[in-house]
Amino acid sequence: MTTLLSILVLVFIFIAIWQMVKIFDLTQTGKTTENNQVANDNDNRINGYLMIGFLIFIYAITIICFVKWGDLPLMSNSASEHGPGIDNLMIISMIVIFFVQTITQFLLHYFAFKYRGEKGRKALFFADNNKLEAIWTIIPVIVLAGLIIQGLFTWTSIMNIDEDADPMVVELYAQQFNWKARYSGIDNALGKANVRLIDINRANELGVDEADPNAQDDIIVKELHLPVGKPVLFKMRSQDVLHSAYMPHFRAQMNCVPGMITQFSFTPTKTTAEMRETAEIQDKVANINNIRKEKSQELMAKGEEALEPYEFDYLLLCNKICGTSHYNMQMKIVVETQEEYDAWIKEQKLFVDSLVKN
């Protein structure tokens, strides 16, 4: 039935357009003798003015987006040591983009307006100018050289892992559709692991080698806790398909690839509690809770359950398409003081103790 209706609507739209065109053509025939469907001076004028209108539209949508949604982006308030480096580079790039965009769009649309065609006028025969072309080759070269150099420095400093800083080694383990974390324990060395050692019956879900002495003090958890100010080195594994460990607040992301171990390292700089106190997050949370309150009222009117109020937490999201529940593959991250962390980790079961004894 719906299909039939949709087809009918489409047919009516076609007929409507047909009739409108006919009416329009009839009104035109009186005015002008030419009707060859090639733009005339009148078309050039109207579309020339519309070009200016469109330029204003582009500027307007830019301004609206920045004013209305400009505070959403993750360009400030990062929670890791390398974060401000990325944010600065992002802001520099955005300024360059904004500048070039504003000027080139102006020239393009302004010229389209200014030089709109008129009968009898002849265009300037201007085919080449090496000087001009050299200028707009060299300027991008200089600007890009700057961006490339700063980009490479930032990238190298993020990706080169400083082993001297004695980072805490943590494994992030991905599977359809959840995350686990394995702490390396007092020895700061992860026990060997392979999916071939997985034994669900004994609750060895990560395939950790029980015989490896390094594995004895490993701790497997479903919520990631990190002490603030301490470098952490993530070793990432996946047991089934590609996943990507995305931790936006820390400006961190790395794919988890079956068959290999990938890594990413950063130092958290703000505890969850501190982050909740920052002005940006408080605004954001207040805004989100207003939205949720409105939505709850709608839901309750329908007799459904209200939404819980939102409280800020760091998150680890899956950011590589991984199957049906990709959209809900997440893990909470808690950044806390060293004392809080020590207290928390003490509560967790060691890997050897978590195994089901035969």
Binding site: F54, I97, F111, K122, A127, N129, R292
Partner: protein
Amino acid sequence: MSAHVEEHGHDDHGHHHKETFITKYIFSQDHKMIAKQYLITGLIMGIIGVAMSIMMRIQIAWPEEANPMFEALLGKWAPDGVMSADIYLALVTIHGTIMVFFVLTAGLSGTFSNLLIPLQIGARDMASGFLNMVSYWLFFLSSVIMISSFFVEAGPAAAGWTIYPPLSALPMAQGGSGLGMTLWLVSMAIFIASSLLGSLNYVVTVINLRTKGMSMTRLPLTIWAFFVTAIIGVVSFPVLLSAALLLIMDRSFGTSFFLSDIFIQGEVLHYQGGSPVLFEHLFWFLGHPEVYIVLLPALGITSEIIATNSRKPIFGYRAMVASILAIAFLSTIVWGHHMFISGMNPFLGSVFTFTTLLIAIPSAVKAFNYITTLWKGNLQMNPAMLFSIGLVSTFITGGLTGIILGDSALDINVHDTYFVVAHFHLVMGISALYGFFAGVYHWFPKMFGRMMNKNLGYVHFWITAVCAYGVFFPMHFIGMAGLPRRYYTNTNFPLFDDLASVNVVITMFAIIGSIFQVVFLYNFFASIFYGKKAEQNPWRSNTLEWTTPVEHVHGNWPGAIPQVHRWAYDYSKPGHVEDFVPQNIPLKEGEEELQH
């Protein structure tokens, strides 16, 4: 070779082939008919692809709400009108595949390369009419197979258009990785064969069949673009074919090219030693040049249309050709920027950042040259011209954000977010689509002997232009806020609740923009039959296709093939009364050909 063909062509004209309906309209070897076949097939695939994107947008804006349209179109995939997560991923996958390959590669390049290469270089037909026909029918077959995957039990491929294994390799990883993925791979293998036959034909034709006087430096920029595009295709498509074949081996014959150490659904699989990262390298070795396979023909079309309608020579012809070549070369050595965080060596990331950002230089040259071509022109605002100006606008807007994504350090945080979606839709999706529309409006009289209605063209352009920005400009911001792409719904993350309203705005623009494409479809199909009869050279253009008669003839020119005496851009040349001088007009006494 050339002389032989000329003679043969002449012969053809002398005693007309007896043509049946089948040889004329179906198994035609005439490049003009094949171009039309590509165009119509591309349009149909485009309608399907856009309809899919609208369904996705509705789901994102109003997640998990019942919609009668879903029930009607998706059937069992939308029980009670609520779209399932599996079919959402399938729509993501097939939308991407259809738009990139079937619409913007075959629909755009297939249509205009076929139509324009012989006509603009002065040839009777393609080098091989037969291969050209085979190329189209392979494309048709692959289209049918791709669409048919919607009718298999477990649904079509749903691993994203990049079909990264292991997700795409293991039927137990998701429903779409069963028969649906097999059909995807078969369809793409056939598509690649079609594309290679087409590309080889284009390359050979441009090299061998140019008419007398048509030196490479007198080629219209359209032909340069098609020629270079075909070369990139020949270089990179075979790599995707090998990736697809190896994936088929892994799926069906137990090899381990891309798979290793997998535990899924409670069992360990035997695969060992393979690497999904290898697949990513192979895929993007085509995948990135593919962006330019899509974009370059659109830029070529735009160059031609902007020059014609500005009544001015294209500014910096040599720089334009050089930048096409530079883009083509660089496009084959930047694929790693899709893989900064794939786990490959970070040093490679540095190298690919460097090569990637270099592409901005020839791109900037092109953009500035377009703008300078407009300067002091006498702009004829035909619909094709509007779409060409629109292309330059979206090419700049979309291209600029490439500076962020190409920078490995910045990519860490926006990789696979909506920022990427906004970027590539503007820079290659919308831009190439504008190139496609511009080409259709401009060469419609050549294809069908009739004119499209200009006022409908204006309505079509302005609404499309506003909606395109309305959709993709705000999308950058939700991407920068960290929203991952390919999420069926964002409601599981209260963190993103404040982005829901932006998504509604985007969807509204998308719906309006796509509904108004009906104006174009109406204009297109109605004009084929009822359009105003076209003059021989309605846009007063210089290129050779406008010297052929309006009524199509086999061999293109009823008499001898015209000779070429000048480049294609003698518009408003001083010393001539008219503001255009077609390429086949000999130089006047004392007139110098521009040292372009």
